[in-house]
């Protein structure tokens, strides 16, 4: 079996920004795992490798500006390519938001999810072409109502 078990995005302060699980776990367990992993990764210094053994999985992580991206993969999986999965995801976010920053992901977390879904399903890479993935997301934006339409609606 070869797949990503989960992806976590968190800030240097340890605030979780996005969590995506490709295995079914109880919420309590997930919270425990998140706490543990954020702590492990934040405590590593900069010159280390991007890989950490964790239980029977392997964590592959990379920091982009203030945000850490961390994937848990199986022991036999391809670590380097997982780093590029992360990078491709960052590129997709960047392409969509234009110079993406942590705030974009905080305020548009649902978009960050949609973009991730276009790229990965069930822990497997679905579409590696940047053009196809971005096009799919932009197409779906086209389906949405105009901003004006929303602005006319009550805020609360």
């Amino acid at each position: 079996m070869w797949k990503i078990h989960f992806i976590l995005l968190f800030s240097r302060q340890g605030k979780l920004r996005l969590q995506k699980w490709y295995t079914t776990l109880p919420d309590k367990e997930k919270k425990k795992i998140i706490r543990e992993i954020v702590q492990i990764i934040l405590s590593r210094n900069q010159k280390t490798s991007s890989f950490v053994d964790w239980k029977d999985l392997k964590l592959v992580y990379k920091r982009y500006a203030s945000l850490y991206f961390c994937c848990a993969i199986e022991d036999q999986d391809n670590e380097l390519l997982t780093l590029e999965v992360v990078h491709r995801y960052v590129e997709l976010l960047d392409r969509y938001f234009g110079n993406v920053c942590e705030l974009d992901i905080i305020f548009n977390f649902e978009k960050a999810y949609f973009i991730l879904d276009e790229f990965i399903i069930g822990g497997e890479v679905q579409e590696t072409s940047k053009r196809s993935a971005v096009k799919a997301i932009e197409d779906s934006d086209m389906l949405q109502e105009t901003v004006e339409e929303y602005m006319n609606k009550p805020a609360f």
Binding site: M1, W2, K3, L16, R17, Y22, T24, K47, T48, S49, S50, V52, D53, D56, D75, Q76, N78, E79, L80, L81, L83, E84, H87, R88, Y96, F97, G98, D104, I106, F107, N108, F109, E110, K111, Y113, F114, D117, I121, G122, G123, E124, V125, Q126, E127, T128, S129, K130, S132, D139, S140, D141, L143, Q144, E145, V147, Y150, M151, K153, A155, F156
Partner: protein, 965 residues
Amino acid sequence: MPAVSKGDGMRGLAVFISDIRNCKSKEAEIKRINKELANIRSKFKGDKALDGYSKKKYVCKLLFIFLLGHDIDFGHMEAVNLLSSNRYTEKQIGYLFISVLVNSNSELIRLINNAIKNDLASRNPTFMGLALHCIANVGSREMAEAFAGEIPKILVAGDTMDSVKQSAALCLLRLYRTSPDLVPMGDWTSRVVHLLNDQHLGVVTAATSLITTLAQKNPEEFKTSVSLAVSRLSRIVTSASTDLQDYTYYFVPAPWLSVKLLRLLQCYPPPEDPAVRGRLTECLETILNKAQEPPKSKKVQHSNAKNAVLFEAISLIIHHDSEPNLLVRACNQLGQFLQHRETNLRYLALESMCTLASSEFSHEAVKTHIETVINALKTERDVSVRQRAVDLLYAMCDRSNAQQIVAEMLNYLETADYSIREEIVLKVAILAEKYAVDYTWYVDTILNLIRIAGDYVSEEVWYRVIQIVINRDDVQGYAAKTVFEALQAPACHENLVKVGGYILGEFGNLIAGDPRSSPLIQFNLLHSKFHLCSVPTRALLLSTYIKFVNLFPEIKTTIQDVLRSDSQLKNADVELQQRAVEYLRLSTIASTDILATVLEEMPPFPERESSILAKLKKKKGPGTVTDLEEIKKERSSDMNGSAEPASVNASAVSTPSPSADLLGLGAAPLANSAPPPSSSGSLLVDVFSDSPSAVAPLAPGSDDNFASPDLASSEVVSEEPADTVHDADELFHKFVCKNNGVLFENQLLQIGLKSEFRQNLGRMFIFYGNKTSTQFLNFTPTVICSDDLQSSLNLQTKPVDPTVDGGAQVQQVVNIECVSDFMEAPILNIQFRYGGTFQNLSVKLPITLNKFFQPTEMSSQDFFQRWKQLSNPKQEVQNIFKAKHPMDAEITKAKIIGFGSALLEEVDPNPANFVGAGIIHTKTTQIGCLLRLEPNLQAQMYRLTLRTSKEAVSQRLCELLSEQF
């Protein structure tokens, strides 16, 4: 406010998020959230129907609150409502909520499934995509039940859009992983394989993942994927860097697809067809050649993608383990990476070389890098990398370099990170034992271990050194002398006191001739440590003292004085007190002869697997401990192997349980209840017998190897599924006439069954017992029905927990429905990882047609009337066969009843004959059956006749029953 707000800004959401961010304290944040939750609750409960936009906004807020780490227990229904919205954006948020906050409420699931069904049927690719994503995200069994039949159709339909195909392939993969039994194999499988040829690389990428997983479980069925994958791979690696346009990633052509194809090929042995094999070798050579070319870009993405493919190619080369040339080239390439400036590459090179070290073709090549690896151990700044270096040193160790490697590891141990010390201790202990030519070196090494890292020396390690010293009389004198010297140190580790106490108690006499280590000096030395030690160690020392009474009668009174002192006889610890009392008594009343018998030297231990090795395996989990030592033909140098190879080979080799106390200190009840002399006797003599629960078999990989030393190394390392159905036919046949019992058993696993049947329905409980002390990982039992069988037998199972703890048992229920009569039996396939190896076994599951029998009582007249009615030659099947078991009438009767039919007494004119009648119930029909069994005692033969209204049924029942007598 957000820097960008694209598409649909939900102003209310943005304001809420800003509010939260502006909260100065955790309390303020919680207050704001509670206010919002109350607001949302009241909106959802309010009389006014909410419009889609508001629902979407509130659901989104709930999601945000959830992501902040708060529990959300409402909003599911509103989210489900959004699913049926026609507005894409509302639908999308609805699906997101469902995927993130999965809920197992069955009513909700029914509604969700309904919405998904509508979207799948909508033929709108965007909606279909959302629905497929949702199924893949949730991946529950209920969803598998609802959609596992539908998705393959979408996947292979000619008019499905490419993007939908991609989602469908991966969605199906997710369902297959969670509920393989619910994904029907069928015509679509061959069409899926051909997706490897698809024009659209995105489709190929998604399909390759699916095929790989399917091929792991059904290698035969997907065999054709090998040649297709090779030709696809070949086209990619030979393409120019721009040929694949969008699928080129930083000048590397389709790295994801390449890696997936290489991964798929690792499900199979090297291709048999020489043309395919040649082409694959070319591909692998090309990939290795490219690694030597100058980089096309300075970006790390370029080198990562390129090397990702390279490492995967090397994995395939190692998996095949058949091309010495490629293996050595791979090793040289990795050797270059060992000195690369990128930490990641050094890490991966060390890791990958570990597996290369296990191939006989590349083992020597790996060894040439020993200095670099030792240097890595000393200079790497990242503990993960150092850990890999330790692993590699362990893997490359053989007799030629053992002394150097053990010395370096001991060196490193002094400064090693605490997190990996215990593991290094275990590795050193194993290597020292395995490659000891000179046992004095072994004893020195272990004592060094205790000196440097005493806290990390586990019980197993010091038990083991004692076992070895006891079994090898050439080292006993040296061991006694060395521990005696080591104990001279003013501060020595308690573990050393234990080893020293035990060894001097057994072999102190061997050095007592030297006035510097006279009996009294030995005793005083040990006793000087006594008060610094913990209770178990003190208990051990007391046993040493009583042994001294036997070995050195001249210091008997000194020892008796010590035993008699208040601090012993009135010790608060009951174990110590009891030992003191009993030993004192023993030394006073027993004659010299009795004393000599009770305290006789320990008999040699039965040879067994090193308990340390077992511990390391347990600690490291799957894959990491490659038992190269077993693979390489070095076994003859093992202590165990050379001493008594036969007993090592025996499969019953056992490991003492890690908790088995060497001195039986744990066996307190025994010591407390028995009368003094025999009690101390048992304390001393009986301590080494394995407690019943302590019997753990060897790791399967090493086990096989011990049994057949000539096995090629690939058999051990590769995870190639050995998909043969276990020939447990005999056990299978036993279940024809009974419902409960043990179906299968080997050294690792026991499978028990309990089943009940009523009319055309049945339920079977399968119990999987882990007989080892180690966890099984990825434990996946799958019930497989052939295509024919699927239409006549309906089986439903729930997945079991993928980890089975050592000694634990897990249960699986199979619900059975017999739709129509059937011939074959379903196959139970079980896969799991144990230690470093992948286990795959299959047994026939005894669900046989006769289980759906309902007995029918009838009179003699009725019987023969019906017998005549079924006289068409096709309705009768007869078999004449030799008795396989003693011909006992009572047993025969019991078997016929167990078979399921009624046993009709006084029906057949010949009282020696047996007749039976019953009805087979299936969902579609009921089949009346009559049977007659005529024994011939003289010839030791039987004639069995079956008459039923259906030829196939007569045939099958006759087959099944004939095997029983």
